[in-house]
């Protein structure tokens, strides 16, 4: 229950403001870091906000052959991801716990992809590659989160990630491996470099871009914004796993924790940029090899959970 007092209201406002305003900044950080790596000055950090505002004021072009699904997908996705931001444990500062079942979180994410694919189908864009990747990466995400859930004896991610769960306090190995696995999986889920080049202009090599080619103006702004929100949530979950691996954060104050979780999301965003600068996009047939690493991490997580439950 939400107690009606000013502190709770302030916390809630801070939480909502964070998840509404932070995502474009993350993308700004990624782009700026990449630019610095390529010896360019790069666009300012706040450029994604300006881009979104510019897109909002443009005139929209809609294909005559599309139906209401194409029009409403962007709005559906943004609202689904806002619900997810309330549920998923992407930051340690959550003013209230609504009870986030791990399968609910995973399949709300899958539902956003379902609608994106549906709108791509409606507009006649290519969507097969994204679906293939999603299929390969889903077991990794489920197994990592399920291992954490089974050690903490609950499927509620809000309880498992709450920093006061005694059964998880001495499990740095589990948290660290789960964090690595989820980070590798989110690279694929977010269509970042080893799986997909987000800056490509060649339709044959696009994975995520290919699905949103038909969107324009306000619709495109919403699609982009929902992708940014997804970056925040997925990176947030993996950074929370990594934070739980460090014993220091179990005995510290709420404020430091909240700052650390925001900072660690930014560090992960910067590390995505570094990966994108030093690595190349993998050949399509080599991608299962990359995803296998994240699945292997999740299998290790399951083993740790099993050995914990056996003893």
């Amino acid at each position: 229950m939400i107690a009606i007092n000013t502190e709770a209201i302030l916390e809630t406002l801070a939480f909502v403001a964070t998840f509404l305003l932070l995502p474009p900044l993350l993308v700004g950080i990624i782009r700026k870091t990449k630019a610095r790596f390529q010896n360019r000055i790069g666009a300012p950090l706040l450029q994604p906000y300006f881009d979104l505002m510019k897109l909002m004021s443009k005139g929209e072009t809609i294909s005559k052959h599309t139906s209401w699904i194409f029009r409403s997908t962007a709005a559906i996705n943004v609202s689904l991801l806002i619900i997810l931001a309330f549920l998923a444990p992407w930051t340690s500062l959550r003013p209230f716990n609504l009870g986030a079942d791990l399968f609910l979180v995973i399949y709300l994410l899958a539902l956003t992809r379902f609608f994106t694919v549906l709108s791509a189908l409606d507009a006649g864009s290519a969507f097969g590659r994204e679906v293939t990747l999603a299929l390969l990466v889903e077991p990794a995400v489920i197994l990592c989160l399920a291992a954490i859930g089974s050690v903490s004896q609950t499927s509620d991610l809000g309880v498992a990630f709450s920093f006061n769960n005694v059964s998880l306090i001495n499990q740095p190995g589990l948290w660290f491996i789960a964090g690595c696995g989820l980070f590798l999986a989110s690279l694929v889920e977010l269509s970042r470099m080893p799986a997909d080049d987000p800056t490509t202009h060649l339709e044959l090599t696009m994975v995520h871009e290919a699905m949103i080619l038909e969107n324009s103006a306000a619709n495109l702004a919403l699609v982009e914004y929902s992708h940014f929100l997804k970056i925040l949530i997925l990176l947030g979950i993996s950074s929370q796993c990594l934070l739980h691996a460090i014993p220091f954060f179990w005995h510290t104050s709420q404020l430091i924790l909240a700052l650390a979780s925001i900072l660690s999301i930014m560090i992960l965003a910067a590390s995505i940029a570094i990966i994108e600068s030093v690595a190349v996009k993998l050949r399509w047939t080599k991608l299962p090899e990359f995803i296998a690493y994240s699945v292997a991490m999740s299998i290790f997580c399951v083993f740790i959970a099993l050995s914990k439950n056996l003893n």
Partner: protein
Amino acid sequence: MILDTFEALAMVSAIFAILILGTTHLRTNLSFYSLHTMAIAAVTAWIANITHEDHLYLVAAGVFIIKSWGIPWYLNSVIKKINIGTDGGAFIAAPLSMHLGALMLGLSFMISQQIPGLIGEPDSRLGSTAAMSILFTGVLLMLTRRAAISQIVGFLVIENGIYLFAVTQTHGMPLMIEMGLLLEVLVAVMVAGLLLFNIKKSFEHIDVSQLTELKD
């Protein structure tokens, strides 16, 4: 289950060994092997710290210098000279063999629960789990890969597994034996490297599955 530091390090080395299985890119294999051996050197140093057996520090330094720097560096230079970047093709696809390796880790956990005599003081079942899983990983590497250089890496991984088993169960052998073993491994890798040059020269490939065909 609260892990001892050396058991955690042993598991880290087992995990790095399994990650070797995941790619057929030889340079990546060698860097994973290097990390894996570094973890084993750290296990040795930590056991020296616990048991106050000072000669184990020397062994750890030897493992670190010879096995985790010297051998990967030498094999890297061999790869560069014979100009082969990736393993031609594995008998089992690389992702699949990595998952097989991960399952082997679970299997060796179950086996080491059954071995009598391990559950003494100190309880080092996780150390033997890691050692056995490294053994299995090395066997998988040697069985599933075609390129001769992967066979060498597989042999080295098996050797590391046996060494880890010895060091976690008996807390180290005498210094002379350890040094002799290190030297033998070094010599074996040198000879195998030279052999690789000759195989490459006379067959123009290093695919071990085709070495049965006679050729002059």
